[in-house]
């Protein structure tokens, strides 16, 4: 058990070291969601005057989208880094280690979860500077948990893609998964204002619940009714993609 935790910790540190040693590598993951958040707020800001937004600013409405996009980018980056390790042979050496495959995956995914807090924190600071209300400690904690959870799920998905294609050229496939998952929700508008086809997709997309869970603290009060579907959805995504990624890891080198 102790050895397992040490393995996970070492892989987590390796993932986090990249931020310190290649800080430029983390910039796109932070910059892109920030640009999207501010850009969308500048362009579509007046949309918030429509009935349905509940009188909150568009920036407050869109901030959770940016946070989840940041989590998605971080998850995708984990897959790209794994593909790089596969291309360079480091992954094969890692497989020779006497550590169970699920632990190797856990280390990689845990580092993605922690790294996702970097863009989320930056976005929060920017949004607060532009007048978004403080979500409260409970709202913020819940947002952090959900962002970390989604990053873990997306890291598992990206790992799955990396193990399947074994090349960094599959990066767009990793990014597009989180892109679609996050934006085909109530990302831009409340459910009642969505077009019928998008509402139908948002209704069955579990990330909609995650988004609403992160959003609630920024647009109103945190309620259990919005919290439990978010937690169940993110746990389900982690379990589903985690199980598939573990299966993919176990098949390596056979």
């Amino acid at each position: 058990m102790k050895a397992g935790l040490r393995t996970v910790g070492a892989l987590m540190r390796r993932g986090l070291n990249e931020i310190l040693r290649v800080p430029g590598g983390a910039v796109p993951g932070v910059l892109a969601p920030t640009i999207f958040m501010l850009g969308l707020a500048a362009v579509f800001g007046k949309a918030a005057s429509l009935e349905g937004y509940g009188g909150v600013s568009f920036l407050a409405f869109i901030l959770p989208v940016g946070m989840l996009q940041g989590a998605g980018f971080t998850g995708a980056a984990t897959g790209v880094n794994l593909a790089r390790d596969i291309e360079r042979g480091w992954f094969d050496r890692m497989l020779l280690a006497p550590a169970p495959r699920p632990l190797l995956l856990a280390g990689v995914v845990a580092s993605a979860s922690l790294r996702a807090l970097l863009p989320a924190s930056f976005l929060l600071i920017v949004a607060l500077a532009f007048g978004v209300d403080w979500p409260g400690l409970l709202g913020l904690s819940l947002a952090a948990v959900l962002v970390m959870g989604l990053a873990a799920a997306m890291a598992c998905y990206a790992t799955l893609v990396a193990l399947r294609f074994r090349t960094q050229q599959a990066a767009p496939l990793m990014q597009i998964g989180s892109f679609v998952a996050v934006l085909f929700t109530t990302a831009y508008a409340p459910r009642e204002l969505l077009a019928g086809w998008l509402r139908a997709i948002a209704d069955v997309n579990p990330v909609t619940h995650v988004l609403e869970g992160v959003r609630q603290g920024f647009v109103g009060d945190v309620t259990w009714a919005a919290t439990w579907p978010a937690l169940v959805s993110v746990a389900g995504l982690v379990l589903l993609f985690g199980a598939l990624a573990v299966r993919g890891m176990r098949r390596q080198g056979i």
Binding site: L31, G39, A42, F44, A47, L50, Y188, A189, L198
Partner: protein, 255 residues
């Protein structure tokens, strides 16, 4: 000279088609954005100040085309940077190929890809219920502005690649594409943008190009916006091609 330009353009096109991972994002991401914008923000047509249009898709189509063309410029830049990194550029310079053809070949390929992008989005729009109010002439206007703008963005990509000489640096301008696009009237009417984006958008050349393409799609073939769009695109293309040729000469002088 002409044969060299065509041969280099053909090589660039064949290379692009052989690596769909570079071409696919040019249409996939703008298509997804188009879908999300239309599905998520269609209700904004009810806002006071929003022009009367048949559908939000009609309004957003020009934005998707412009976004795709800008990404095409980044893609052209990356291709040139990869040629430089891989040593092909040096071999080309050592051959008796006219120098200007190196730039013009790549820019011509960008024009062809731009035409494909414009046609793709017009067809996509028609499939999903958009109507082109300007009819066949309107299609030609959109195609003309789109191809000239795509040529200009391709030349800007070449210019950056010749200066930066690194694919990752060119890739780094990707977020800037969205910054420039967001502070234009590509996605939303000028009057409804928030400050200070509305002020910047008024002078942003992309606003003229977007409005020039949008006019025949969503409204009519009114000459002024179309001409403004075409002139702006031409000015960008001419300036960027000129600067790219100068950058190439500067690079050869340094070598």
């Amino acid at each position: 000279m002409r044969r060299s330009v065509v041969a280099l353009a053909r090589r660039a096109l064949v290379n692009a088609l052989r690596k769909p991972q570079f071409l696919a994002p040019l249409v996939i991401f703008p298509s997804l954005f188009l879908a999300i914008n239309v599905g998520g923000l269609g209700a904004t047509r009810e806002l006071e100040g929003f022009p009367a249009v048949d559908g939000f898709l009609d309004y957003q189509l020009a934005a998707a085309i412009l976004q795709s063309l800008l990404l095409g410029g980044v893609s052209a830049g990356i291709a040139v940077a990869l040629d430089i990194e891989g040593g092909f550029f040096d071999r080309l310079v050592a051959s008796p190929t006219p120098r200007v053809a190196i730039v013009l070949g790549r820019v011509l390929a960008a024009s062809v890809i731009a035409a494909i992008q414009v046609v793709y989005f017009l067809v996509l729009g028609l499939i999903f219920g958009a109507s082109i109010k300007g009819g066949a002439l309107g299609v030609l206007c959109v195609l003309a502005i789109g191809v000239v703008a795509g040529t200009g963005f391709g030349a800007i990509g070449v210019l950056i690649a010749l200066r930066a000489r690194s694919a990752s640096t060119v890739q780094g301008i990707f977020p800037l594409v969205f910054v420039v696009l967001f502070i234009s009237s590509a996605f939303f009417p000028l009057e409804l943008l928030s400050a200070p984006a509305d002020v910047i958008a008024r002078y942003n050349p992309l606003s003229f190009i977007a409005d020039g393409m949008r006019q025949p799609i969503a409204f009519s073939n009114e000459a002024l916006p179309v001409l403004e769009g075409l002139l702006t695109a031409t000015a960008i293309a001419a300036t960027a091609i000129g600067l790219s040729i100068l950058a190439l000469r500067g690079r050869l002088r340094d070598a």
